[in-house]
Amino acid sequence: MQGGAAEVVKGVSFRVPAGKTVALVGESGSGKTVISQTVMGLLPKNGIVLGGRIMFTDPKGPGAPVDLARLRRDGPEIRALRGGRMGMIFQEPMSSLSPVHTIGNQIREALVLHRKVSTEEMRDEVRHMLKLVGFKDPNRAYKMYPFELSGGLRQRAMLAMALICRPALLIADEPTTALDVTIQAQVLNLMRDLQAELGMAILLITHDLGVVANMADEVVVVYHGEITEAGTASDLFRRPQHPYLKALLKALPSFDMKAGERLVALRDSGADLHALVPLRKSKPAAQDAPLLSIRNLRKSFTIKGGGLFKGRRDSVVAVDDVSFDIRRGECLGLVGESGCGKTSLSKLMMRAMAPDRGSITFNDGGRDIDVLALKGEALRAFRPRLQMIFQDPVSSLSPRMTVMNIIREPLEIHGVGGAREQMDRVGDLMAAVGLDRRFLNRYPHSFSGGQRQRISIARTLAMNPDLIICDEPVSALDVSVQAQVLNLLKDLKRELGLTYLFISHNLAVVDYIADRIAVLAHGRIVEIAPREKLFSKPVHTYTKALMRAVPYPDLDRPLDLRLIAGGSASDPASWAPEFRDEGDPASLAPIDLGEGHFVLARPSVGRRELLAS
């Protein structure tokens, strides 16, 4: 920042014992990343250590502790430790690796730098490490580029890179935040195994208390650059002292919550909905008719495979024969890992993409609208009925428009009312999402992530929609803010009679907000059931794997890592035989298990067997 220094981390002291895991917990902006960067000597040029010591004692070194804070920036002493005795992995596995160098090349580098080894030894060592982090074919992985690997494999490559010199300390900065739950469980498991094998200490930086409960021996809670609480994991989880940690634990949705129990947000939003309620039409009599019906929807993409120089074409099915209903006034949760077709499905519903076949029918209080057949003015008139909230609150709001213009834009596009009326409406919308009307002339950058997401919700509400598609609306937000936005969405739904399709990869969040849940894998809905049904009696192998992989912020319920250690849970080959299609998608059909619980399986398998399995 220009013009003046800001003290980001104030008087923080903690220790990382050799061979143990210390978790550094805090929300974004609390200074936890700055602490890790300081340890590694990787602070940006405008960051200065004003005081304090960072003593590093290498168990295999000469013994005398080194003060890392005093070493010259990028000097030879710190460089010898970095990568050699201290390794680091980062949150974003894609951007953390150079896209134009092979995995082998990037892993090898640290080894060449810190150890005198022959070329042959070095190759063997890299291959050995690749094998250790779980690459099935290290020889092939050695020559691969990062973009050829999935997110989980990239993070493994990153881990191999950090560990290749067998460091005494591993700093992991949100190592699994960008990964799917099942992959996250695998990577965490891997980190623990390697820790035992290499005897290294881990400084784990995260905001996910579930991960902390599963990994940490000791926990340090940071808030606004200061330590509010520190101690062993059992002390902190069983007897939290500081109000901040207590609040944080309460703000986290968990599966044990009773129906109707509300999350306690750290700061409440104070939404005022009374101005919007009269706008809603009285609900039509036919309550049972689904608001939206999707039947046999299918979409495939053509990908030119095999690279630039070969003309081979592959077809990838993103959405495969998907059928479901969304009832008026309910919240349907849609769960699945990245790449399972969640986003494609929402785009098809928004008419942002055309499906290969299938139908979408919207029930407009007695009248059925064929959404896919709408054209021109009819489509334009339909658009307000279906609105969307996006994942990233930063890029989904134009930085060059004031909040007033952002929320007013849909009203202008659809010519709702005069200027005066529109402005009043925008004010009401701001109040409805719990933001002060006086902020209307500000630009998005002066709001926090949670506030921006609320602006985004206000914009969605401007059109007075019937159905809102929420595409991972809280996955980019901190736990504390997440609770606030989830509560707001719940209140809006109740007061305004909205219907949601809530897309998320976080099962706990879906559990908190959804009435029914659909599980999507490889473009197909493998299981759909009312919320409590799905969580109490999951049937499909994949659903079970998903639930097992969720880390609980509870020391008494550790992840059962042995169950996850196998191959990828989303790989149909690992599913029970009755759920596999063996190359013929038509061999599977949704089977009714009663009370709205359907699972995709072979019709030859009986209901009883499925329920018993």
Partner: protein, 332 residues
């Protein structure tokens, strides 16, 4: 790979055909032609116009035929290396351009090399020392280079070299060598004259190149993989050249295609001021007098160069960046 290369070369053929048609159309679309101009000039100077001779020439060059026929005659000639006949010089275009072409290519390449040699180190330095005084100073220098017109710089150089050293720096070699065959003396003479136009023409290119290097590198420097590289304990220099610098090269490689023609045409005014024996002044003169075969063939050479440049840069890009090599052309 071979398949791709063949496809790219095949695409060049229709591209060049369309270009030639456009060039020919524009040249023929003017209300007058070379002969009308010639007659007018002669009349203006009070000479007697030999109508029979003009008519004979018109017939000789096919000006009595429809333009479409003339176009195919011209393109057909181009295909087997006959670039047509220059009215102005009364010589085949090939001979008129001849030596000048090689000199132009020499000058252009020297200029590109000069630009890169100067701009890359300065740009890298500016980017790694962002917002320091040296960065501001070098950036200002680059902007000055960008802002001063070529020809003005040429005039300044001419004046001061004459004032201070009593030197005439015009031309690309001592005039006595111009039509002489290549010899050691001629070669050294070219070298001793070459550096001044190189600096003059290269200045503006260097200015914009410094800015481009700086901007591209700055963007890469803040990426996460740079931190990863540093966390492995690499020295700052190794990090810089192995990762962000390599990534920022993409931009310049993809720019090669447009550099070639811009350097050649950028040199024209300077070539006139310094009376360089390059193709620039020739092209301008040919366009003014509507010497259509000379100008047309010349423009075709420029377009061919551009198309080849684009191909070379695409191939180099595929070579440099595995993402383009292995997954390029993925479509939704």
């Amino acid at each position: 790979m071979l398949n791709y290369l063949v496809r790219r070369v095949l695409i060049m053929i229709p591209t060049l055909l369309v270009t030639s048609a456009i060039i020919f159309t524009v040249m023929s679309a003017t209300p007058t032609n070379y002969f009308d101009n010639l007659v007018q000039d002669m009349q203006a100077q009070g000479e007697k116009v030999d109508t029979a001779r003009i008519d004979f020439m018109k017939k000789e060059y096919g000006f009595d035929k429809p333009p479409v026929e003339r176009y195919f005659w011209w393109v057909g000639g181009l295909l087997h290396g006959d670039f047509g006949y220059s009215f102005e010089y009364q010589l085949p275009v090939r001979q008129v351009v001849g030596d000048r072409m090689w000199l132009t290519i020499l000058l252009s390449f020297s200029t590109i090399v000069f630009t890169w040699l100067v701009a890359f180190p300065i740009g890298i330095y500016s980017a790694t020392h962002q917002y320091s005084w040296s960065d501001y100073g070098l950036t200002t220098l680059g902007l000055l280079g960008l802002a001063i017109p070529h020809f003005l710089l040429a005039l300044i150089f001419l004046y001061f070299s004459n004032q201070w050293f009593g030197l005439s720096i015009g031309g690309l070699m001592d005039p006595k060598y111009f039509d002489a065959p290549m010899s050691w003396d001629k070669f050294t003479s070219i070298l001793s004259h070459l550096w001044i136009p190189v600096i003059i023409i290269g200045t503006a290119g260097t200015g914009s190149m410094i800015r481009a290097v700086r901007a591209n590198l700055l963007e890469e420097l803040h990426k996460q993989y740079v931190v990863t590289a540093r966390s492995k304990g690499l020295s700052p220099m190794r990090v810089l050249f192995k990762y962000p610098f390599r990534m920022s090269l993409n931009f310049f490689v993809s720019d090669i295609g447009s550099i070639l023609p811009s350097v050649i045409s950028g040199g024209e005014l300077v070539a006139i001021v310094l009376s360089l024996q390059t193709t620039g002044p020739l092209l301008i003169r040919a366009l003014q007098s509507q010497d259509i075969y000379l100008a047309g063939s010349f423009l075709m050479m420029l377009s061919t160069l551009t198309v080849i440049g684009v191909l070379v840069s695409d191939l180099a890009l595929a070579f440099l960046d595995p993402r383009i090599r292995m997954q390029g052309g993925a479509t939704r």
